[in-house]
Symmetry: C2
Subunit: 292 residues, 2 copies
Amino acid sequence: MSVAPKRPKGPPLNAMRAFEAAARHISFVAAAEELNVTAGAISQHIKTLEGWAGMPLFRRNAQGVELTREGQALLADFTKAFDALADATRALRDLKPNADFQIAALPSIAQLWLPKRLGKIRECYPQINFSVTAMETPPSLSRELFDLSIFFSVPDGSPNQICICQDKIIPVCAPSLLNRKQGDQGFEGISFLRDQTWANDWPMWSQNSGVQIRNSENGPQFSLYSLAVEEAKAGAGVLMGHLCLIEDALTAGALTVMHDVSCSTGNSLVIQVPRMPRQRSETKRIVQLLAN
Amino acid sequence: MSVAPKRPKGPPLNAMRAFEAAARHISFVAAAEELNVTAGAISQHIKTLEGWAGMPLFRRNAQGVELTREGQALLADFTKAFDALADATRALRDLKPNADFQIAALPSIAQLWLPKRLGKIRECYPQINFSVTAMETPPSLSRELFDLSIFFSVPDGSPNQICICQDKIIPVCAPSLLNRKQGDQGFEGISFLRDQTWANDWPMWSQNSGVQIRNSENGPQFSLYSLAVEEAKAGAGVLMGHLCLIEDALTAGALTVMHDVSCSTGNSLVIQVPRMPRQRSETKRIVQLLAN
DNA sequence: CATCTTGCCTTAGTTTTCCTACGGCAAGAA
DNA sequence: TTCTTGCCGTAGGAAAACTAAGGCAAGATG
């Protein structure tokens, strides 16, 4: 008999959280992004946990990980636990008077669509600090501390989503550029400004409009859509414009449409809020203001 | 608008765990003991959490703490979350082949009652390592990683408890001491060996038996009951014997009863196991073997 | 009344944990 | 081939967690 002097210790909490995130995403890098750490940190946490359990929880393949049977079995339990913990954390946050209202959005939406409307909202809630976090992938609203997210996606019809508008694309450019090319409706010899993540825009529009596009790869790429918009305003080339993101530039005359045909990408601009018990009180009204 | 570069961070997990434990016990020291840290650590964790929430969760009084209204409201959420996490942790532990079987017991029980029976059990499960952790207060089996606990208490009739026997006390001493005092049934001029936590034994027995005891404080105190038993065997004085703890010494003749009247303390020797989904498979059989 | 005890606080210093940075490797894509 | 992606490993440094020790206030004890 070994009389242990100390109570049996469970595994480190952070390791469990890392496992839960990694298992849910089936990816260390995705988990790392969610938890705001590097993938190496996730790797170590999971190794710690596997050491504690004396059993591998992931199978590491070169092109990604997969859960072992055992890891598989644990995921549900851990997800339930950390969901409950997320609830408690929100309850704690809600005690804080005038806590920041956290918004998650696609970088382009955060820069081109949000600012104007956020201005109005801030007038209604001068005491609340609105924080906007830009990211490529929508966060889990049941897990992270965001109060609202705005992304392009296909709406799922749930009451926690509001569809603002369809995402329609149409070629645009600076008026000066259009004048130069007056009478010439083609896209010959023009730079195509492109966003990295929306590289597919031109082919999609081409197919939909029937307009033949050659060399749509001809032109600079930008990591942020808003940079491409600025370049387009400066007359650097033609841009596939997402209508909801460039409406201001169009009405102000900084950009004009180059071709009458617009086409839908299949996505919509969607606002999503946490499901009920996790919402803070201002959410409903803020969504209303955002949706105009 | 402040564009936060990083996702909003929740409070540290360890701080939340500390809060949950402290709120449940309404005591920092009790929480510290449960988590195997010092009270200072708990204090700091809670301060961290209060800082994060921007709101006090405890009211600190000189003779103890109490929850504020806000802390009160949070407790349920956090307890639910950490209960779920404890479940997940057990599921993880159960993956481990031949994990230690963890037993929590009162020090005196661990030393005087358990060893003999544990020997038999170890024969049945030679591959399992049995760990015994001594402590004064029964741990929460739904929260901590114990598989079984043995303490004196009043049974609550739940199916997770087995009552082994009543806790009966009776004065005992070494045979040599009894011989010297032959014919003298009183307790005059004898050292009363006493255990610190059971200081009430002599008055209780006195009241029950009708035997007048004077100077029951006359004699050495021991922090462990087993030390007092050893002293009694050595003839150092008379001890209030708890029958289930000294049965071996009595049958072996190392101790003899000094007075025929025994009295019940109201408690029983109770084995408790976690409620079902958290039990490991061997538990049932082990309880059976312990109960004989 | 003085003294002890209990339970919390605070500070300082140490230990442990956690994380990043960076080079490497294997598999699939270009 | 060469690039890219996603994981691993190690080393070193930053941050968190913990301990130790002295203090204080309110009851309990003598």
